[in-house]
């Protein structure tokens, strides 16, 4: 899924999930601030296998990959500030 030296954010969501809808503008703002990062939205209804592969047990769920390997994850609603802190940790 990822290329070398890249950071990717897997955004596990569902259309019927209210907290996931609330996170959409937050993720969009985060993505805008970091154009070098790839954001991959994953609808768990269409991608059951991927959700299982990454052990997603609650949504929304945000999984950061660095060079294709998971480095951080957060489940549930999070403010932009927290995503930025996670970004800082990954790139720090």
């Amino acid at each position: 899924m990822s290329e070398e030296n890249s950071i990717e954010l897997l955004d596990f969501y569902a259309d019927w999930c209210g907290p996931c809808q609330m996170m959409k503008p937050v993720v969009a703002e985060f993505e805008k601030a970091h154009p070098e990062m790839r954001v991959t939205p994953i609808n768990i209804d269409d991608e059951e296998e991927l959700a299982e592969k990454y052990g997603v047990s609650t949504i929304p769920c945000f999984v950061f990959l660095k060079d294709g390997n998971e480095v951080l994850r957060e489940a549930g609603v999070v403010p932009l500030k927290k995503l930025e802190k996670m970004w800082g940790k990954i790139n720090g």
Binding site: G18, P19, Q21, M22, I44, A51, S57, I59, K81, K82
Partner: protein
Amino acid sequence: MKEYDVIIVGAGIAGLTAAIYVARANKTVLVLESKIHGGQIINTFKIDNWPGDYGVSGANLMQKIYAQAVDLGAKVEYEDAVGITKKDDKFTVVTDDNEYIAGAVILAMGTEPRKLSEKQTKDAGKRAISYCATCDGALYKGKPVVVVGSGNTAKHEIAYLKNIASEVYHIHHDDPIPEPAVAVFVAIGRVPNTGFLKDFVKMDSKGYVVAGEDCHTSVKGVFVAGDCRTKSVRQLVTASADGAVSAIEAVQYLG
């Protein structure tokens, strides 16, 4: 240190309604929220008892109310309130990132699901633990799950999961987790998010902030709105009503 006329802790329906009223009274207002605005109702897919917007989703409704509050001048910061003190007639609210000063404070932190007991958490081991079947049920299609709890919420969670999971076990608080279950859905009530207040205001034995319909707490200048207040009916519309009352009272207090 930034100073506001009113600081509201919590950006659910109570907090954001209060923010609308304070802003419209031409007072400066800061809303502090630890996660994301919207509160508990964002988990509800369809609301049939909010007058005027029949069938609206919780997320959609709260985005509209948030936009309204911000448009009217409310400032929202996503920081976790961790302490509050009073000196003379000013309040200092400490967050994980900053300190803010205000002439009045409105507490609107709402409630959160009561966590699984230590014993059952240990028993659950590596199984997933969820506090919302409608949010997470779809992740367990055709798999056995267990619901913990004995109230109405537990009954609703069981009915919902029966259409998804291969088997839905039902246990009570502190029963052992059935071996085959791959996920544990917890529905054992809710607790108020009032921990950071410590002994700052009077609370009941369950941690709800004591106040009547006027939303006045035991501390002059501190008001409480919504589900974290002692009350008998906790609905979206009553939380919103508390927001209005607390804001009007706070503005009157400030003079």
